[in-house]
Structure formats: C-alpha cells, structure tokens
C-alpha cells in the first residue's frame, strides 16, 4: 500500500530527527545536529534491506517516490516564502557578507573535489528524475 511507503519515510524522518536532537543536546547546542542527514541514511539502509529481500513492492515505493517528485515544487514554494525583502534591506554589510561567503564557498568546490572525478558519475543510474522530463 502507498501509505506504507509514506509511513516508512515518516518513520525514518522522525527517528533521524530524534537522533539529531539527542546529538545536539549531548554537545550542549540548541539545535538538531544533522537529523535530516541521518534520516536520509536510515532511509537508504532500510529500503536497501527491504529491497534485497523483495519486501518493497511498487506501491510502497510509489509512496516514497511521490514525495521525491514533489521536491522541486516544494522548493519553489519555499523560495516564494523567503524573506527576500529583509535580505535586501539589511544594507551593504549584510549583502557583502552574504555575497563573499557564497563566492568563497563556490570557489572552493573544485579545490576540494580535486581533479579525479571519473569515479564519481553514477547519475545515469538514478531511479527517478523528479522534474518529470
């Protein structure tokens, strides 16, 4: 059933967020430390385990794939609810600080990636293209 997939996704999310919360508390910070990332890893492992045993029927999968496909629309809604006006009313200090952080971050991507990227191109094997082309 489709709901099994959605429930699996929700369960991984809740478990990940709880772990992230505990991690944050252990380090004494008032924040969730990587809960979403942990949830992603949980989903990868749990679905991998179920798939290997043939316990992940297509209908269950479609419950996860629906939310996967909703990702870009959700991001568009997120963009539309950003506080863009405040970003531009912060003055030059805020704008320059933000711009410099992005420019330096982007510039460092190729530095850290290194030249040897031939072992890192599994994109054609991706199961879905959420944008729907």
């Amino acid at each position: 059933m489709v709901i099994y997939g959605v429930a699996l996704l929700a369960g991984c999310m809740l478990a990940g967020l709880i772990i992230g919360d505990v991690l944050g508390q252990m380090l004494g910070i008032d924040a969730n430390l990587g809960g979403v990332g942990i949830a992603m890893l949980l989903l990868i492992f749990v679905t991998g385990y179920l798939k290997d045993r043939g316990k992940l029927p297509e209908t269950t999968e479609s419950g996860i794939n629906f939310w996967n496909a909703m990702y870009i629309p959700i991001v568009v809604a997120m963009a539309a609810s950003q506080n863009v006006a405040a970003a531009f009313s912060g003055g030059m200090v805020a704008i320059l600080a933000g711009v410099l952080a992005v420019v330096l971050g982007l510039a460092l991507v190729p530095v850290l990636t290194g030249k040897k990227v031939d072992d890192a191109s599994p994109l054609e094997s991706a199961p879905t293209t959420p944008s729907g082309h």
Partner: protein, 253 residues
C-alpha cells in the same frame, strides 16, 4: 462573491498553494523551453519567479514570510516550510547508492568544517571592514554569513544588540538567496555535476534552503548528496560560532 472566493482560498490554503506552484512551474518550464531553449533549467526559473514573488509579497505586506504573508497565498508557507521540505529532501535519498556517500564522506566532513570557517571569516572580514570593533558584533555578523539561523542563535548567546542580530539574519538570507540563483549559473564552472562535488558543495555552502534550491535548479539528482552534508552545517555552525570562533575573534580584537 469576491469575498467568499477569498475566504474559500484562504480556508483551503495548502490546496491553493499546490495550484499556484503548479502554475508557476508550468510557466517556468514553458519559458525555459521557448525563451532559453532549455539552457536555463525550468526549475531554476521557477525558483527565481518564487523569489521575485517573495520580494513583492514581503514589500507589500511588510511581513517576514514572502508571498505567504499575503492571505491568498498563505498555503505556500506550509508547503515550503521546514516540515514538508525536510520530508521531500529525505525522500530524494531513496535510490541513492551508499558507496557514493562513503567515497566522498571524508571530503564532505572536511568541506563542512572549512565551509563554516570560510563563511565566518568572510563575514568577520566584512564586519571589520565596515568599522565594527566589538568582538560580539563581529562574531554575530560573521555567524550570520554561516547561515541565517547560526547568526541569531550566536547573537542571542553572546548578548548582541537586536540591530546586529537583524544584520546577521540579513547576511544569512543574502547568502541563501544568492546560492539559489548562483548555483545553476556556476555549476559547470565549478564542476558541480557528480555526487562527490555535490557533497562538497553542500558542506561548503551549507545553508539548507540555498543548497536545496540551488541543486534543484542545477540537477535534481544531485540533491540528496548535497543535502546530506548541508544538514549538518547549521548544527556545526551553532556549535563552533559562539564558542571556538568567538574566542578566536576575541583573542584578535
């Protein structure tokens, strides 16, 4: 008649948001195909339209949640809010190969630490350049350049003034919004086309909304890799900025 339509749309705000976003996507993909011949990805255009609408909404209502502060579009706040966004981000991990993550894991962790440090230093340098000399002010603005959550949390911990905290939030918002727009435009230049560079990108930039939208606009298949590292970034920033990094700033000034 008009009133009843407005109140109906307001009552079914999430459903209205689905329709509005669907229409936006349709227009964006149409523009992508016919005006840019597919060179600028439809999702990139949709995100830019979203940001433009958010600006209009913010200016016209004076609220802090972009277009979703307009009553008719309040569902956008729920649809694009943290809860559904994180659910969808996690869903993108379905089908990801763990080996790819393991292979880039160490570089991803290095990228995380370097990313927080570089953004902090960039913010601090700008703050100092504009004449701030109080270590609390410098640290708060610098933390804002990490993310718009790290900034106010750090400022609150250190007891910064509300103007400086507002400034740090603005710096983080600029970073997030610029990431959404600049990522698809620079992706080819910085080699952002494989899981490894996506994980490094997520660690270096870190601001979740920026990374999420930036990668969506570049290649949606890269999203899980970038999001994976980026979700640790804000936590790491909150851990480092008010402690180690603040002490470092205070030692210098």
């Amino acid at each position: 008649m008009n009133d009843s339509i407005v109140s109906l749309v307001d009552k079914y705000h999430l459903i209205a948001a689905f329709a509005v976003v669907g229409l936006t996507m349709y227009i964006a993909y149409w523009l992508s195909r016919h005006l840019t011949a597919g060179r600028l990805h439809g999702s990139a255009i949709a995100i830019i339209i979203g940001l433009a609408l958010a600006y209009v909404g913010g200016v016209s209502t004076g609220g802090s949640k972009g277009l979703s502060d307009v009553t008719l579009f309040s569902g956008l706040g729920l649809m694009g809010g943290g809860m559904l966004r994180d659910l969808a981000i996690i869903a993108t991990a379905y089908g990801v190969r763990f080996q790819e993550i393991k292979k880039a894991g160490l570089r991803g962790v290095i990228a995380l630490f370097l990313g927080v440090l570089v953004s902090f230093v960039a913010g601090a340098a700008v703050a100092i350049g504009f004449g701030y000399t109080d270590p609390v002010d410098i640290t708060t603005i610098a933390a804002g350049a990490v993310t718009y959550i790290v900034g106010p949390v750090t400022g609150a911990t250190l007891g910064a003034s509300s103007e400086v905290i507002a400034l740090s939030i603005a710096a983080g918002l600029v970073k997030s919004i610029l990431t959404m727009i600049a990522t698809p435009l620079t992706a080819r230049l910085i080699g952002l086309d494989n899981p490894r560079s996506a994980m490094i990108f997520g660690g270096l930039i870190g601001t979740t909304s920026g990374v999420a939208a930036g990668l969506a606009a570049t290649d949606a298949r890269l999203v899980p890799y970038g999001a994976m590292t980026a979700t640790f970034y804000t936590g790491l920033g909150i851990l480092l900025a008010p402690t180690v990094l603040f002490l470092a700033v205070r030692a210098i000034f």
